[in-house]
């Protein structure tokens, strides 16, 4: 089990996957990519059908990391369990406007002729559908905020995530995990902050990674704030706020990550 503390806290395990969850990962002054790698491994081990939009690293990077977490991405892809979009691979051709212009290219928005993420959404639609031996369907995005760096507007990204959520979480009763990276300035109303605020309202679970407020420390890489909606009969409906909250600290290792309550790091005790 990759996330013993977090998993037991949230009721996550390979045996029991919640349906219809939208999990929002975010980081500020830290790197939450370890979380997306963990979720990828978790869902593959649980036998889900996974569509992974790897927009910021090559497939071989995710593959190497997944191997350390005990999962073989190459095999999963060959067997059809994993559909992987390697965003970087086609990007140069699109940026340089080489080759034909077609909606078939998921990264076609880089050409500049498209103002929305329609072709990317069509790719997601094609990939998560088709119930087979793998279930439920999961969509993972690493990361959403890089689209802002590529000239896509906040509105277009929110539209895209809305369409994905409707398809994956509501229609297919699967889960969606998205990573949004924000800068230091919390008052900055543009771009990533706006994206984060809007998506936070829609998600059922939010994991926010931050550097330690006291500065850089080698033994404690940061803190994670976990917020989630209450589940069960007494819970608020889909529009309910993320009422439950917990703050933990973490350290990333070569083969995993350990979470601990504040002040209980082995470096301190």
């Amino acid at each position: 089990m990759m996330l013993p503390d977090l998993g037991s806290l949230l009721g996550f395990s390979t045996e029991k996957i919640e349906k219809g969850d939208f999990i929002l990962l975010s980081d500020r002054n830290a790197d939450a990519s370890f979380l997306i790698n963990h979720f990828l491994s978790l869902y593959l081990r649980a036998g889900c059908k996974v569509c992974f939009l790897g927009l910021v690293q090559s497939f071989s990077h995710y593959s190497a990391v997944a191997l350390r977490l005990g999962v073989n991405l190459v095999q999963a892809r060959e067997q059809g369990q994993l559909v992987f979009l390697e965003g970087l691979k086609d990007s140069v051709g699109q940026l340089l406007q080489q080759g034909p212009d077609s909606e078939a290219y998921p990264m076609g928005f880089l050409r500049g002729s498209q103002t929305d993420l329609r072709s990317l959404f069509r790719f997601v639609q094609r990939s998560v559908g088709g119930a087979g031996e793998w279930s439920p369907s999961i969509l993972l995005v690493d990361d959403l905020s890089v689209l802002l760096s590529l000239g896509v507007s906040v509105e277009a990204i929110l539209d895209f995530s809305h369409y994905c959520r409707t398809t994956v979480c509501h229609q297919l009763q699967g889960n969606m995990v998205m990573l949004v990276r924000v800068g230091e300035d919390e008052d900055d109303e543009e771009g990533p902050e706006l994206l984060l605020k809007a998506l936070t309202h829609q998600c059922s679970l939010a994991l926010s990674i931050q550097g330690l407020p006291t500065g850089y420390c080698r033994d404690i890489h940061g803190q994670v704030e976990v917020r989630w909606k209450e589940r069960g009969p007494g819970a608020a409906g889909p529009g309910g706020a993320l009422a439950q909250k917990k703050l933990l600290q973490y350290k990333v290792h070569d083969k995993g990550v350990s979470f601990f309550a504040r002040g209980t790091s082995s470096a301190v005790l």
């Binding site: 690293q57 940026l95 802002l148 590529l150 300035d185 900055d188 543009e190 990533p192 420390c217 080698r218």
Partner: protein, 401 residues
């Protein structure tokens, strides 16, 4: 971590550029681990099997530093290129302001004779300056701390030393293949740019790099025996000379142009045997968010802050150094966790025969008669350096634990 922009720009900003180089490395991996690719000037990483090159400043094999005043970042770029020449790599230099040939003619000369081994490990600095390594008398507390490594120490065989006061011999330089891109020569008189997230200048640069990679087979198509590394140096991206307005406007029209270029560059680097050093005049970029995005799109990002022209130049606390070095980001390609340095408080100094990076240690506050203002200085600088918990800061900030 706050980049301390305390330097006041009194006069011309142009000559005092705060540049930030970032480095992208390749994650190109051979499929069969048993046969190691042997390309001169590279060695495989034990951590994740990637090929590593030295950047030319042996302290900076893994971390690229950027200094605020273009004098130091330019120096680093030259070291990077010089190392490429000495290793026989193919060198590519892109620039918009200075003709690439001029930069190439000004590379530092390598010191090719043997260096005694105790001069080598610049990256290893003890916490105390004491000559007596055996036992420390005053600073006994530090004795048990491991020798501080800035995570940058490397053996002397990998990487070379350069004499900054001499320029590289022409024969040496001309022995390697060098490709250049000088924007004023490449931009057509009339541009018919279609709308695109990337500007024409950057698009031309990207295409130029793509073509070079394909022609010379850096993408793996070259036969194994003639495989080589492509070292790409790009000077001052983001400056107005690259037809970019992120340094001129707070809400630039081309806000995503540089970041789109860096994305494309990353795509090229990930699929080829290349390494790249880019310098960016971040002090000119008005919109902080853009600089954050630039940092995220690179593997390693370092900010150099020169003391020249600032109040720190005469501050006795910093007399041993030329500037500070802030590690903004370290790479973690193909692995979950990056090699985190012990500390992010680093300082640099440029001596004739080496550019050294050391852990910043402020001198001890020995005198009773030291005035309160200098104590405040210490606290202020420690806070600015965002030192690890429990530094010298005397602020009343509530500590988390």
């Amino acid at each position: 971590m706050n980049m301390a922009m305390s330097v006041s720009n009194t006069g011309e900003r142009r000559s005092q550029q705060n540049t930030r180089p970032a480095c992208n490395t390749t994650s190109f991996q051979k499929k069969s681990r048993s046969k190691l690719v042997s390309i001169p000037g590279t060695r495989p990483s034990v951590q994740n099997g990637q090929l590593i090159v030295s950047t030319g400043v042996t302290s900076l094999d893994y971390v690229i530093e950027e200094d605020k005043y273009d004098s130091y970042s330019r120096m680093l770029l030259k070291y990077f290129l010089a190392e490429g020449v000495v290793c026989g790599h193919h060198v590519f230099l892109g620039s918009a302001r200075d003709p690439p040939d001029e930069i190439m003619q000004d590379l530092p000369a390598p010191i090719l004779d043997d260096i005694p081994s105790n001069a080598v490990n610049m990256g290893q600095v003890t916490a105390c300056d004491s000559e007596d390594q055996g036992s420390m008398k005053i600073a006994w507390r530090y004795q048990n701390l491991p020798k501080v490594q800035t995570a940058l120490a490397s053996s002397s065989r990998f990487g070379h030393y350069y004499d900054a006061s001499k320029t590289m011999a022409r024969e040496l330089r001309e022995a390697v293949k060098c490709s250049t891109f000088f924007l004023p020569h490449e931009l057509p008189a009339e541009s018919h740019a279609e709308p695109s997230p990337i500007s024409e200048a950057y698009r031309l640069l990207l295409r130029s790099i793509q073509e070079l990679i394909r022609q010379e087979g850096f993408d793996g198509t070259a036969p194994q025996k003639s495989r080589n590394i492509l070292r790409i140096g790009l000077h001052s991206l983001g400056s107005p000379l690259w037809a970019d307005d992120i340094c001129c406007e707070e809400k630039p029209t081309q806000a995503s142009s540089l970041t789109s270029f860096l994305y494309g560059l990353r795509a090229l680097l990930r699929s080829s045997l290349c390494t790249c050093m880019v310098t960016v005049p971040s002090h000119l970029i008005q919109n902080r968010a853009i600089m954050d995005r630039v940092t995220r799109l690179c593997d390693t990002a370092i900010a150099l802050e020169s003391f020249r022209g600032s109040e720190r130049e005469t501050n006795p606390l910093y007399k041993d150094y030329h500037g500070l070095l802030h590690v903004k980001q370290t790479p973690h390609l193909n692995c979950l966790v990056c090699e985190a340095p012990d500390t992010k408080d680093l300082a640099f100094k440029l001596k004739r025969k080496q550019f050294s990076i050391e852990r910043l240690h402020l001198p001890p506050d020995l005198s009773d008669t030291v005035s309160r203002s200098s104590k405040a200085d210490v606290a202020e600088s420690a806070r600015l350096l965002s030192s690890a918990c429990g530094g010298l800061a005397t602020s009343n900030k509530h500590l988390d634990f």
